[in-house]
């Protein structure tokens, strides 16, 4: 949260308290503002929050521990499919949300360890290639495990997944309080917001801890990290599994929110999109992941929305399909970003200690 506060332009450094409140108010009011432009925008915001969780989780692996992971979406898939298996008519199992969520997280963590073990000795490009392959393997499994025994229902995916039910309160139904009705999209928004806030809190705690420092040490110089007694193997596995856990939780939420999962949601492009969010925002800091996810989740939708009217206005007809234009403009945004701000939107130095908590500051030696 502190990093996020400091990232607020102008106000963040001058008045952190005001910036803090600004973030909270904006976060709470965002769906109401979005509603003015139409309901679909609230949905876009819901997805932006899911991407935020993914970016936060991937940031643990890539930003903190320095392990380039191009198959991160696989953990999202594991979470989503776990939810789909255990809470849908597909197997006829309908476990409650609170039972499935930890399972989804645990399976994703196990998948993280399963990926971590074989790649312990790999670094840089080689690591990227293997993780990329891992992501594809999971997707292809999901795609093909419908024969001879139908487990995943193949490319058709799994339908009619149970919605999130919190203590008997179904988030997918419109809430009525007297004359006042609250659409399910809002309910999901606030629930996801809570999840993102929780993730930020936990990840911040990890960052400023002996584990966060061990990750940063390993990232900056593996040999020196070994020489001060850091168990590289354990720390790498921990980074993979914890990063995967956030992906798994986001996957569960995605499955329940969407009500439908299929392998095509977990393509390589999605992994790259999440990685782009982390890099775009500023690697290794929480605020970067949050802002990167927000901007890159909203930008394509905004572009899609304004591409058609602008073209009609200029040329009286639509020359370029918004979908094509979207990728084009997004790539352009990335290129500009790399040229103008190669360290990301928010290049804040991540902190791994609380020096201000020292009881006294000693005078410097002459």
């Amino acid at each position: 949260m502190n990093e996020l506060v400091a990232a607020v332009p102008w106000l963040g450094r001058r008045n952190p308290m005001a910036a803090r409140w600004l973030i909270i108010v904006l976060a709470l009011a965002a769906p109401l503002i979005a509603m003015m432009f139409g309901r679909s925008w609230v949905r876009v915001l819901d997805f932006a929050l899911l991407y935020m969780m993914l970016a936060l989780g991937l940031n643990v692996v890539v930003g903190f521990a320095g392990l380039l992971d191009l198959g991160y979406i696989a953990f999202y898939a594991v979470g989503a499919y776990t939810f789909a298996f255990l809470a849908s008519p597909h197997f006829g199992v309908h476990w409650p949300f609170w039972a499935v969520l930890p399972l989804g997280a645990a399976f994703a963590a196990l998948a993280g360890i399963a990926l971590g073990f074989p790649v312990l000795r790999l670094r840089g490009d080689y690591l990227a290639i293997v993780t990329l392959g891992f992501g594809e393997i999971i997707r292809i499994f999901m795609n093909n495990l419908n024969y001879p025994i139908n487990i995943t229902n193949g490319p058709q995916g799994i339908n009619m997944i149970d919605p999130i039910v919190l203590f008997g309160w179904d988030l997918s139904r419109t809430l009525k309080i007297g004359d006042f009705t609250i659409n399910s999209l809002y309910l999901y928004y606030y629930f996801f917001l809570l999840c993102v806030a929780g993730s930020i809190l936990l990840i911040q705690r990890l960052q400023i801890s002996r584990i966060g420092r061990a990750w940063a040490a390993m990232r900056d110089d593996e040999l020196a990290a070994k020489a001060i007694g850091i168990n590289i193997r354990n720390m790498k596995l921990l980074a993979f599994s914890l990063g995967a856990t956030f992906g798994g939780v986001a996957g569960c939420l995605f499955g329940a929110f969407q009500g439908f999962v299929s392998p095509e949601s977990f393509s390589l492009m999605e992994s790259i999109a999440v990685l782009t969010m982390v890099v775009f925002g500023g690697m290794g800091n929480i605020a970067g992941a949050v802002v990167g996810a927000l901007v890159l989740a909203l930008l394509p939708e905004v572009l899609r929305d304004i591409a058609v009217p602008i073209q009609q206005m200029l040329f009286d007809r639509v020359l370029l399909d918004p979908e094509v234009l979207r990728m084009l403009l997004l790539s352009l945004a990335m290129i500009l970003m790399m040229l103008l701000r190669p360290v990301g939107l928010i290049p804040a130095k991540a902190r791994y200690a609380h020096p201000e908590h020292l009881p006294r500051k000693k005078e410097a030696r002459p």
Binding site: L206, S209, A217, A225, K349, A353, P355, K362
Partner: protein, 258 residues
């Protein structure tokens, strides 16, 4: 004299090259032990074998009365051996304080659940780690740079920071790999005082150094390596006059060192 570290017949080959050939030496508790020799004599290789970075091809180390594990750096550090590097290896993106705190990793116990829930034990340990790191920065004389990112520190300060980080692992034996390399006379004099202080505070020091004046002035005993063999081991004044040592450094035919 109590023996702290004993190397017994350490051997290490890289392909056809014998980097260490049956090297045995004894380091006593509380001394500064110098390891010198011409370039390529095997000094750093001995360091790497000792600290677990390389597996030895033969021999063993006995430390504090029991055998050291080989090839497991984190276990060696846990037993109480810390090292610095010839070419400084700091965690570049971390501040000086964070570097030293990272060095304390092996002496802290907070687990993942403790950290996620911020248990009282975790918070207390974190506070102690911060305090201890600050004290160590003060000890090596760079407390005023605690919040500077380490890659921006001056060369001499980086050397000191690396020593502080090594001390944060709470070693019995501190192995310094050419700590004075690239330092000017003032910095070397400061380093010398620091090493004296460290020894005075009860940490045994193993020192690889090229600066002969520093070694002779600081070390209680010196071993000389040449082509992977130990050719001398004694107090500095004796080693200095050893004809084999003179020959190793200056080549045959010389009778005197100026």
């Amino acid at each position: 004299m109590i023996t702290l570290l004993e190397a017994r017949g350490i051997g290490k080959r890289f392909g056809g090259l014998t980097a260490l050939d049956d090297v045995s030496l004894t380091i006593n508790k509380g001394e500064v032990y110098g390891l010198i020799g011409p370039n390529g004599a095997g000094k750093t290789t001995l360091f790497n074998v000792l600290t677990g970075a390389y597996m030895p091809d033969g021999g063993e180390f006995v430390f504090n009365g029991s055998q050291l594990p080989t090839g497991k750096p984190h276990k060696v550090v846990g037993r109480g051996i810390a090292r610095t590097f010839q070419n400084i290896r700091l965690f570049r993106e971390l501040t000086a304080l964070e570097n030293v705190m990272a060095g304390h990793h092996i002496r802290t116990r907070a687990g993942i659940w403790g950290i996620l829930t911020q248990s009282r034990f975790t918070r207390e340990e974190e506070r102690l780690t911060t305090e201890r790191a600050y004290e160590l920065l003060d000890y090596v004389g760079i407390a005023h740079l605690a919040e500077a990112v380490s890659k921006n520190l001056s060369y001499g300060d980086q050397r000191r920071l690396e020593i502080a980080r090594a001390l944060a692992t709470e070693p019995h034996l501190l192995a310094l790999d050419e700590p004075a390399a690239g330092m000017n006379a003032t910095e070397t004099a400061q380093l010398r005082r620091l090493i004296d202080q460290i020894r005075h505070d009860g940490v045994t020091v193993l020192l690889i150094e090229h600066d002969v004046k520093l070694v002779m002035g600081l070390c209680d005993r010196v071993a000389v390596l040449d082509f992977g063999r130990k050719i001398a081991e004694d107090v500095p004044s004796v080693v200095q006059r050893d004809p084999k040592v003179i020959e190793a450094y200056l080549g045959g035919g010389h009778k005197h060192v100026a």
